[in-house]
Symmetry: C2
Subunit: 352 residues, 2 copies
């Protein structure tokens, strides 16, 4: 418990200390020692460490009364994924199920002012990912974030909301009921001490936790200046996969997402694209793919590796050119046959 | 003129002879000799070459009466771009302005059953490309193709339609007036002898001409089995750039275009993306970019290459942390400043 007190006290240091904290703790220093040393640099308070410990103690007590768990970095329940980032929060204040933080997860983030299309895609992807047992992480914001949380909940899935305020301070206020639903099987978390009101500059910092918790970040409808792009950049820095959903090019709503695609983000049309990127390709889909019959009898007239002209194929198949060409065209579209110029065709081997 | 007759006769050989024709002509053989040799293989007619020459002669006479020009491969007016493909047509039947075939061009192709979105994007891109002096090439089909032609015409630009029928056989019939408008400054062309009715298997072959004429192919709203994907594949084989416009992932309309993006096609949001790919970045835009002032005084507090924490920036700028962070966040979104963890910031040099 002393450890917890020191971790919470460390979390009360200004944000710019965070990297120093992480460096020292990684080096094996005790949190109390790190606190003592960093607090000693404060110019405003000769006994800053004690002050912070008192505030930490009060915060932990108050949190306990509100069923908020403080998970310090040293705790087994602290999400392993988050320990790998450069500047993990010293403590995670958590409402709901702490266990939700341990499961593999995918973040879905995007515009607060999303279109019906964006909301629909966010909800559908979250449903499908949650149905596959993945935890859906987002930021409880209006728009894409809440559509993602709701999608996961719609299939009784698990979802985690990371706030830019204390977990007991609802922003936006109308999402209090949503947060309560998330608590049931998932969690609402924050690095900010309970009671902290939301502030604009907390949100970009919060974004590194969203990506840090997740194996991949999916961006939907990020404009050119969307905070989701910061989440995407954090994800890249943390070695997470970044994926983006394309959309209308005329509205400007997707400029950020398209920019990510331009820079190499993987394109997402459905949850399968995300699962594939995570190496978790949907088993049902794969099985269907494998057992798909390649039964067109025309293929038997095209021995692998041999380029045949129409006359040859006509002779072998007994079909006239005019009946043959539309069928070859169809096989070409299926990727089973390839036209190689001069009206010759070769069979494509799907296994190569 | 004898040459023309031979080239037209060669074009009347079955499609599978095309590669042989190209190989022989490239080797420097005279078209008459190539015709003689290939025609000799015909089993149905002992004097096939004469038969083809007679048909060619009749076709050339009839074309002349309908203001259709036959441009043989050997003609200076034959588009240089098309000579570079594996199997160029021996002759191009041309309505309108032959000169239109010599200018740099971009193909815009896509679904016949396009959405209002697809039509709108096609029209806008064509307008913008044509306004930059590029010729817009497409296939006169319903949907994206005709929207592209119309976009170019709307700004008095030049556009070329490549048909899967003779240039005097309108398919779809309702596009006769559009073809007439295209003729004015552009051209309607086909490798098929005038009078040839459209047939399904002509269209995939026609697509290699669309891509072959063009420096780049832009695909809009191609479904999974769209013929536009064949055009895209031809383009890749011919060394042309392939670009695709993204869109809605829920309708299935863009599956083909998104598949191209997945395979490395460049994403198109506006004509600038196409111009950039062609190394023709819009001069006005570039000038604006260069002269854009980077005037935020905060940047002066961040010497290039130095990572500064908030305290340092606060001291230098005289601003408090709470006023500083939102402004740094804004600079971060503009790509002028980067957060590097631990609350430190570095200035990004736009020129590197």
């Amino acid at each position: 418990m002393t450890d917890l007190l020191d971790f919470v006290a460390l979390s009360l240091l200004p944000a710019w200390c965070r990297l120093h904290v992480a460096e020292r703790l990684r080096a094996g220093d005790a949190p109390g020692g790190v606190l003592q040393e960093l607090a000693a640099r404060a110019r405003d308070d000769p006994d800053k460490a004690s002050t912070l410990r008192s505030r930490a103690d009060a915060a932990i007590r108050r949190a306990g009364m509100h069923a908020i768990t403080a998970i310090p970095w040293s705790d087994a329940a602290y999400p392993a994924a988050l320990t790998t980032i450069a500047d993990p929060p010293p403590v995670l204040w958590t409402r709901g199920c702490v266990a939700a933080l341990g499961a593999p997860s995918v973040a879905i983030v995007g515009s607060r002012a999303a279109s019906a299309y964006g909301l629909s895609v966010a909800g559908q992807l979250a449903e499908d990912l949650a149905a596959c047992g993945l935890v859906v992480v987002s930021g409880l914001a209006r728009g894409i974030d809440s559509a993602a949380h709701r999608g996961a909940l719609a299939v009784n899935g698990v979802t985690v909301a990371v706030l830019g305020s204390g977990v007991d301070v609802m922003y936006p206020p109308e999402h209090a009921a949503l947060a309560a639903s998330i608590d049931r099987d998932g969690a609402v978390i924050s690095e900010l001490v309970p009671g902290t009101p939301p502030q604009a500059f907390f949100f970009p910092q919060r974004n590194r936790i969203i990506s840090g918790l997740s194996r991949a970040v999916v961006v939907i409808e990020a404009g050119e200046k969307s905070g989701s792009l910061i989440t995407a950049r954090c994800a890249l820095e943390q070695g997470r996969d970044v994926l983006a959903v394309p959309g209308n090019v005329l509205t400007g709503r997707n400029r950020g997402a398209h920019g990510l695609l331009r820079d190499g983000a993987k394109i997402v049309e459905s949850a399968d694209d995300i699962l594939e990127e995570l190496g978790m390709a949907h088993p049902a889909a794969s099985a269907a793919e494998v057992s798909k019959p390649q039964g067109d009898p025309l293929l038997a007239c095209l021995p692998p590796g041999e380029a045949c002209n129409l006359d040859v194929i006509a002779e072998r198949s007994g079909l006239s050119s005019s009946r043959l060409l539309p069928r070859l065209f169809d096989l070409e579209l299926q990727g089973l046959v390839r036209r190689i110029g001069g009206g010759r065709f070769v069979r494509m081997d799907r296994t190569c």
